[in-house]
């Protein structure tokens, strides 16, 4: 579902990763590892289509990808259900009930998102993935501020997604218990610090 060949990505004009090749098929999970600043977020943003690759080839259908960013992307004055309902409508998904159930959010349904704890916000943000209806989840540090129980809920949600023919690529430092290949980004670190002009201009 995603195939990268000799991929290079840059952040702010500086190359951070180079020569990266991997494939991700249906039902597979790919876990990115690497120290801070090694380019995990940059790679994930490239996969999500938010920035063009520096060089190499990236074969993926952007309409298949659901991006889960580091930030929660919630509106504090909307309730939990309203936040989720909005994304469900944007992605054309009918019901939010399975998403609420998957991360145990039913009890918080009518609470404003601004009043949730950091872990609850994170759960709501992850529940958004379920209402995208997309097959490839691209996740940046999905388990930040989650407690043990919530991590287990999230792992079950990811496993369910994989079992139904989806795929996931995520940057995470903890062991989720989801069967998946681990890709260490350290060997692909770009060594030349030469500034590369951002080509492609406005388009």
């Amino acid at each position: 579902m995603i195939e990268a060949r000799d991929l290079g990505v840059s952040r702010g004009g500086l190359p951070v990763l180079t020569g990266l090749s991997f494939t991700l098929g249906a039902g597979e999970a790919l876990i990115l590892r690497g120290p801070n600043g090694s380019g995990k977020t940059t790679l994930l943003r490239t996969l999500a289509g938010l920035q063009p690759p520096l060089h190499g080839e990236l074969i993926c259908d952007l309409d298949e990808i659901a991006y889960g960013a580091h930030a929660d992307g919630l509106k504090p004055t909307l309730t939990v259900a309203e936040n989720l309902q909005f994304w469900a409508k944007v992605f054309g998904v009918v019901t939010i009930t399975p998403a609420l159930a998957a991360l145990d959010l039913q009890a918080l349904r009518d609470r404003p998102a601004g009043g949730l704890s950091a872990g609850q916000k994170r759960r709501l943000s992850l529940a958004r993935l379920m209402v995208t209806g997309r097959r490839v989840w691209v996740l940046d540090e999905p388990t930040v501020s989650l407690d043990g129980t919530s991590v287990a809920l999230f792992a079950a949600m990811v496993q369910g997604h994989l079992n139904s023919g989806g795929a996931a690529i995520m940057a995470t430092h903890i062991d989720l218990g989801v069967a998946g290949r681990v890709l260490d980004l350290a060997p692909f670190r770009a060594t030349s610090a030469a500034y590369v002009a951002d080509e492609g201009g406005f388009l």
């Binding site: 938010l50 920035q51 659901a66 960013a69 992307g73 944007v90």
Partner: protein, 218 residues
């Protein structure tokens, strides 16, 4: 798309959404003008159309940094950019939501505030009409400015400086329609220019806004 519009309207109307900000500013400016230039009815009647237009424009400018900055800060702009909605549509909806929550209340308030400035009788129709035609351009141009400055912390100053020159033609022709309308002069030419500006910006600006937004999101 309608979901995005409804969400933005709902956010604007809820606590802290900044719905009343532009309207309150407009009210304050027009109420203060008689104190600063003196209460002579003849003087006020002459400057009323221009003051109302300037007040509306500044009120619009004041609320621009909310158009995209809030969505940028909480990360939902990234998510919207990866959603199955073209970015051109996202910025158009954002501009429409801004107009509905800021521009439209100004249009409706202008004739009421005209009373405070002793606006001549035929002027009421034309100040309302010129603002109705002109304020959408202010929202669309303003959204472009917001897209340009979206990644900047406290980008409000830069945003005002960038948007100001683009607002000038709208202000010139809008105020001219209102002035001529108030004094029974032919106003076809500035009215057509104003309508042309609005239609032109609505047609072209979303593409520019989406293009700079894509660059800023990298």
């Amino acid at each position: 798309m309608s979901a995005l519009l409804l969400r933005d309207l709902r956010l604007a109307l809820r606590a802290g959404g900044g719905f009343g900000l532009g309207l309150a500013f407009f009210l304050i400016v027009t109420v203060m003008v008689p104190f600063s230039v003196g209460p002579t009815p003849e003087t006020l009647a002459v400057i009323a159309p221009g003051v109302l237009w300037l007040g509306a424009l500044l009120a619009c400018l004041l609320s621009l940094d909310r158009v995209l900055a809030l969505d940028w800060e909480d990360g939902s702009l990234d998510l919207l950019a990866t959603a199955p909605v073209p970015l051109e549509a996202v910025v158009s909806i954002k501009a429409l939501a801004h107009w509905l929550t800021t521009g439209l209340p100004l249009v409706l308030a202008a004739p009421l505030l005209g009373v405070l400035l002793n606006l001549p009788a035929p002027g009421y129709l034309w100040i309302t009409l010129s603002l109705l035609i002109g304020t959408p351009a202010l929202s669309v141009i303003g959204t472009f400015g917001a897209a340009l400055t979206v990644g900047l912390k406290r980008g409000g100053l830069l945003l005002s400086l960038l948007v100001m020159p683009l607002y000038v033609p709208v202000l010139i022709f809008g105020a001219e329609v209102a002035r001529r309308g108030a004094s029974h002069l032919p106003l076809e030419a500035p009215l057509l220019m104003l309508a042309g500006l609005t239609l032109g910006t609505i047609a072209l600006m979303p593409f520019a806004s989406a293009a700079v937004l894509r660059v800023n999101l990298r």
